[in-house]
Amino acid sequence: MADILQLLVAGLATGGIYALVAIGFTLLWQTSQTINFAQGEFVMLPAFFVLIGMSYFGLSFWPAVALGAVVSVIVLGLLFKRLMVDPMIRHGVLPLVIATIGLAILFKEAIREFYGADAQPFPPMVAAADVTVLGVAFALQSLVVLAISIAAVVALQLFLNGTRTGRCMQASAQNPTVARLLGIPVERMILYTFLINAALVTLASLLITPIYLAKFTNGEWLGLYAFIAAIVGGFNQVRGAIVGGLLLGVIDNFAAAYLSSQYRMAIPLLILILVILFRPQGLLGRIEERTV
């Protein structure tokens, strides 16, 4: 029983990170029909911004985190939208998708050239320690990762549903034409979405890199898992991305422990196939019809 609980918490912690990244997929899709296949590399990069702050500018950890967060939001939010999405989106979804694949390669190779192919250690937010709950020892880091992920998701939901800007963003996502008629600055709302996505991937990066180490290839599997999580949960629903991420994290951990480590990568893909076959809108997604 203790093993199951430990696996559950570890899976939820990993799943929480997938959820943060998957939410970014759904937000960008809803507001600007952008599928960002560089999303995994977006998670990989902020950790390196922090490391650059520490090693090249001599900053201590938290100032470097602040610097990394600001640079990430500018580069992965503002510049990504202005320099890539805005010029490409008018040509349709597919050219933009291909462009983001190219961007992923660019980011990956740039880090390899600039920082090297070796993994780099990354300071943890909390020291490694156990927390015993009901006689079962849980890793403090897992609990902190899970708690921060949940707090971020809750804060995002409160922002989207409880503030005027959040509701304007939702209106822009649901029907930009009507939103414009109502006087909502749709372009600015879309920009906010990109900035929020950049903030989410930065948070995911800070949470996951201490455990997995900073390496230029980290984005490959993270992006894939988050993309699967978004589809499984429902690509057009933020809550779908949350459920998809958590579900994937838990299933992945249990599959590795009780089925086979060798086939753990296959399980999410199997789930993806099943969802596409039997519930293409995702577990919590809604069916969309588009005029073609």
């Binding site: 696996l7 570890a10 070796d118 250690p121 455990i211 180490l213 992945d252 249990f254 590795a256």
Partner: protein, 379 residues
């Protein structure tokens, strides 16, 4: 215009001829500059580069400068094969690498057919059993290291049960098979056998399995990055150990990546920059100065490989002769008195297996501390 072209042609010819005259001993490093074991391949490569620079500065081999080229296998056997073919087409005197045992296995036949000596970094046990007369190790094969570790588990740790976590590639599989055999011979029970993948990043489930086994010792056998991730996850989940392993678990890179999680790790190291040997310390200082990081065992492997080539060519052959080189290496012992840069007395047997002293070590306060020196097997 015609004169200009003629001028260019003559200049190009002069440059080509000049280039060849200045560097006519071709050594090629075919190894893992990128990919999942780039850490190891990069260390080996830098060891080679340092040695080549030193040898060239001292006049080269038989007064010929070394022309070193580098080809990246990307830790991929398919790419390794094509890169090795490219290397062979360049007609090298000796090939250095690969480091990844899977890549050694994928390329050794090409080199054997071309009759080109190759000094490898791979440690999988079976590599020296496949009949390649041109293959020579630069570090122990697993069949040499594992008995020493098994003795350590029995005699020093007094462990009756062991939980094993290993990486599922040629290196890991070879080590696992060897270790299981050695443990069985010593009546030590294997209570968990956890296979992981090369490049794996999430070890939460694997560590839960190790915890559930409740073994007297946990044996970690993987590449440096994965070893570090395993140790971080193990500490995160409060797995107490003791953690035992071979060279990769105690390597400088693993310690650097794992941070505090590496403290307390114990085991056997075939080569280490922390060896209490002045020549090794001197090498480590030179390496640190040249590349701005501390070498691990792979750096020593690459460095000594180049000096082995120099020694055999100059002292045993007196000419560049690939076949002669391979013959001379079998049964050869190089002592530091003969070639100081070999660092430790080293012997190659008739299948290219290596023998030298080795060490028992423990990680204390983020540093590898040598606790015992083990003699050569042949002594």
């Amino acid at each position: 215009m015609g004169r200009l072209r003629f001028g260019f042609a003559v200049s190009a010819l002069v440059l080509l001829v000049g280039g060849a005259a200045a560097a006519d001993v071709k050594l090629v490093y075919v190894g893992e500059i990128s990919g999942s074991i780039a850490v190891s391949g990069g260390n080996f490569r830098d060891g080679v580069v340092l040695a080549v620079e030193e040898v060239n500065a001292a006049g080269g081999i038989l007064k010929d400068k070394i022309a070193l080229s580098q080809l990246d296998t990307q830790t991929n056997p398919g790419i390794a094969r094509s890169q090795m073919q490219k290397a062979i087409d360049g007609d090298p005197y000796v090939v250095l690498g690969p480091i990844f045992s899977g890549n050694v296995k994928a390329t050794m036949q090409l080199l054997q057919q071309a009759e080109i000596p190759h000094l490898i970094g791979g440690e999988a046990g079976e590599l020296t059993t496949l009949g390649d007369r041109y293959l020579f190790r630069t570090s122990f094969g697993q069949q040499i290291g594992m008995p020493k570790i098994a003795n350590y588990i029995r005699d020093e740790l007094k462990a009756k049960t062991v939980a094993l976590i290993w990486v599922n590639n040629d290196f890991g599989k070879g080590g696992r098979d060897n270790l299981i055999k050695q443990l069985a011979e010593r009546n030590i029970k294997l209570v968990a056998d956890v296979s992981t993948e090369s490049g794996q990043v999430d070890f939460a489930a694997d560590v839960v399995k190790l915890k559930a086994a409740n073994a007297d010792a946990v044996f970690v056998y993987s590449n440096e990055e994965e070893c570090a991730r395993i140790m971080r996850e193990a500490r995160k989940q409060g797995l107490k150990g003791p953690f035992v392993g071979d060279t990769t678990l105690l390597s400088q890179k693993t310690i650097e990546l794992a941070g505090e999680a590496a403290n307390g790790v114990q085991g056997h190291v075939g080569l280490t920059a922390d060896a209490p040997i002045p020549a090794v310390a001197e090498f480590a200082a030179k390496f640190q100065k040249r590349f701005n990081y501390k070498p691990d065992h792979n750096g020593i492997k690459g460095y000594t490989a180049v000096y082995a080539v120099k020694y055999v060519t100059e002292k045993k052959l007196g000419k560049f002769d690939r076949k002669g080189f391979a013959q001379a290496m079998h049964g050869l012992t190089i002592a530091p008195t003969d070639e100081p840069a070999i660092l430790m007395e080293t012997t190659w047997d008739n299948v290219g297996e290596i023998d030298r002293i080795s060490f028992l070590a423990e990680v204390v306060d983020g540093r590898q501390k040598i606790t015992k020196i083990l003699p050569k097997l042949g002594k």
